[in-house]
């Protein structure tokens, strides 16, 4: 599966000059060891590792500015690094350079309870933040599954299971501090909940994958921990019926917090992996947030919709331990999938289509998997029209790899044909570059013009997105 990368050219001279200076300046916090470098240029997926030349553990915005100034002078690439949970090669170093590791910048700087905002450094992880907030009755709702850093989540416009109710990183970041390629530190917005003061540079940086600026502080919108949370599970006779139930739920304005689809293969995988005995049918997993009465009302409404569409039984619970049990299959989905074919590489796809096209898109995709003789259970954030197939590929089988590549191409084309996107939440990185123009046409030229202006020497995460 060779990638048609625009591989930025490697400037060995500049790197050779810059690295010793940085080593001298940062001492032990500048790691040149092979293992550390490889770990920082490694994605959890099928993309080959591309190591940076050094990893620097920064401790302040000022240090980031120093590194940017030096790297600009020597035309050395800089790759911001959170914890490396990206799936599309965002942290790879195709032209070498410096990986800036933010794990030491992991302080929660302030929490404004009355405003439902907090400001954090980029290395804070989602779980760390929620632990910190719990006693105050607040939480940060974006949940991409992995315990990613807030900086990484902002840089890739992450979302996940809660997005159907709480939105994505786009909706939950109020303001950013960032170091730009010219070394300038900017604060993109005030802490006001809304503003119409000029261009939305906050949103421009969210999802820019470290190619326009290096995020050094993030001010987030928080939510109150709901008074009541309840969970439900409901099998359906078909993917179509499950999708239709989802459409009805959204259309009725029922504010579900999560609504996830697992297909029959995924359910079979979970039964095998977790020793469960669930119906091996397409199944919806739901979570409701609200008042005691509210969550009950929501669940009853969805239960009625499900029944109308031939779904059931609708199993429902408000007790935390029962909720965990009900959702176990969903939580285990990733590892259960890998268990379907031990030793295989797991490659996650990530298309998102208008919800009216979801059933059709999932069905065509399943048919394509059969035609191409590939194994890939399906998990979907169906309330948003977003679904993942986890391709289980034998790395050593060239023919299978070729079929997998064809499958992914057809999937992206299918999503675009159905007015959707090749990536709902994983980003472009290296892996999806070839689909970007197909999806957005001339808008890509606008992106490139902005990149060329804000980073004329192409030092910020080169070889990504374009």
């Amino acid at each position: 599966m060779a990638l048609p990368l625009r591989r930025p050219s490697r400037n060995d001279n500049g790197i050779a000059l810059a690295v010793p200076i940085l080593k001298e300046r940062f001492g032990e916090r500048c790691d040149l060891g092979e293992a550390m470098r490889a770990q920082h240029g490694h994605t959890t997926t099928w993309l080959p590792t591309e190591s940076p030349d050094a990893v620097i553990f920064v401790e302040s915005t000022e240090e980031v500015v120093e590194i940017v100034d030096l790297c600009r002078a020597h035309a050395v690439p800089i790759i911001p690094f959170g914890v490396g949970t990206s799936l599309e090669g965002h942290v790879n170093a195709p032209a070498g350079g410096i990986s800036i590791d933010f794990s030491h910048m992991n302080r929660v700087l302030d929490v404004h309870e009355e405003d439902l905002t907090c400001t954090v450094e980029p290395g804070v992880t989602r779980k760390q933040l929620n632990e910190y907030l719990r006693d105050r009755g607040l939480f940060f709702p974006i949940d991409p599954g992995a315990d990613a850093t807030i900086g990484g989540m902002a840089a890739t416009r992450a979302s996940g299971t809660n997005a159907v109710r709480y939105g994505t990183m786009r909706d939950n970041v109020i303001s950013l501090e960032a170091v730009m390629a010219d070394g300038q530190v900017i604060r993109t917005a005030s802490r006001a909940k809304k503003s119409s003061a000029g261009y939305d540079i906050t949103r421009l940086l969210i999802g820019s994958e470290g190619t326009l600026g290096i995020i050094t502080k993030i001010t987030l919108k928080l939510s109150g921990i709901p008074e009541a949370i309840s969970a439900a599970v409901c099998p359906f006779p078909s993917v179509e019926a499950a999708c239709n139930a989802t459409i009805m739920t959204i259309q009725c304005g029922i504010p579900v917090a999560r609504i996830e689809l697992l297909d029959a293969l995924q359910m079979r995988a979970v039964n095998a992996y977790s020793k469960l005995d669930l119906p091996e049918q397409p199944t919806l997993f739901l979570e409701f947030h609200g008042s005691e009465a509210g969550v009950k009302e929501q669940a009853e409404a969805v239960s009625a919709i499900a029944e109308d569409l031939g779904g059931g039984p609708f199993t429902y619970s408000t007790r935390p331990e029962d909720r965990s049990k009900l959702w176990q299959a969903r939580h285990d989905a990733y590892w259960a999938s890998l268990g379907l074919r031990p030793g295989a590489a797991g490659i996650s796809t990530d298309v998102c289509v208008p919800i009216s096209r979801l059933a059709e898109c999932v069905e065509e995709t399943r048919a394509d998997l059969v035609e191409l003789d590939l194994i890939a259970p399906i998990v979907g954030h169906v309330g948003d029209g977003n679904f993942h197939t986890l391709l289980l590929v034998d790395r050593d089988d060239a023919d299978e790899r070729a079929r997998a590549a064809l499958y992914m191409e057809r999937l992206a084309e299918r999503a675009v044909r159905m007015e959707g996107t090749c990536t709902g939440e994983h980003g472009i990185g290296q892996g999806k570059m070839k689909y970007l123009r197909q999806e957005l046409g001339g808008t890509v030229d606008v992106m490139k013009a902005i990149k060329a202006t804000l980073d004329p020497h192409d030092i910020l995460n080169p070889g990504k997105i374009f």
Copy 2:
């Protein structure tokens, strides 16, 4: 009140060449009459009229491309025009040029009920759209008060009373079609509900005030008309108590659809104007959307909060005719204010601060009005920390004009000092340029760099924002 405008230089040569060509091409749809031109370079506020040289009523994206291509060749400014409800001089033509009037491009192109999306031309007004949608049980929630066009609302990142629940234009636009300065037509995103495919060019154009591209189609996120709507009104002993009730309401996660504050002076104005007998105290106007049970529960919760803070009586109704009556004071606020001082110019301010600073900001502002001997009732979208004061200024009194100018400067400084913005929803236009750098520092340089790249000849709405 002279404005420190960066007035773009007028290219009389280019205009003299371009206008006859456009007149020849568009015939009657190219209006050179003085009245029409003045109407298109006129804001409803204190900013002087600056007429364009021609007004063209376009009928398609292709026509916009033609105009852009011609204007680029002759370095002639282009000013997109909706219905002209902007308050900060967005439609003025400080260097002359062509006003593109979108009133003929006012079709609803499609509605996807299952996806809760629709695509419209920019000249569709908010009320026209909601009329169109009503029979389908859907509505577009953004309500800036005026019956603005969707194109204008997108261009200025508008919001209004419903934003506390439904967000602003930022949150409710899925995708845009725009004609860029080079004549290229782009589609900024697919119709998927979320995407992480490259830079967020949709959000970059929203709020760019016609300076980066001309919006020619807008795909919107719609909402279901709620099953139940109820309204409430509650007076408070002080602005602080009303603000604290608002903070508590938001913090408790009560999903109020609208929560508006009128101060005592505004209430007095309304009593006089609408022959009402309401308590002349700071008063909250609320609206609740949800299920029958849900809206009742919400109102009960807010009522309890209000009582705790010394507010009351809490008057509540679900019947449409009673709801209108309860909200009459809010609806009449603008005209009632003008009635306080017939003949005066009304100048609306628009700061927005974190909600924890709102009471303090309003109180300081009121004290400043007393000190400067100015009259300005207050209306606030307090759930978002956004409030307007409507300055009533005698245009012929130079001293009063100077005091008003000083007041507005201090207000912007105060908002920025309290971590807020000089404009929550009206935009920068001409009127707020001088506050932008004060608020956002070097971020303004990033904006300027983007403007220079995407519109190198400065033909798109020059003299605005910067």
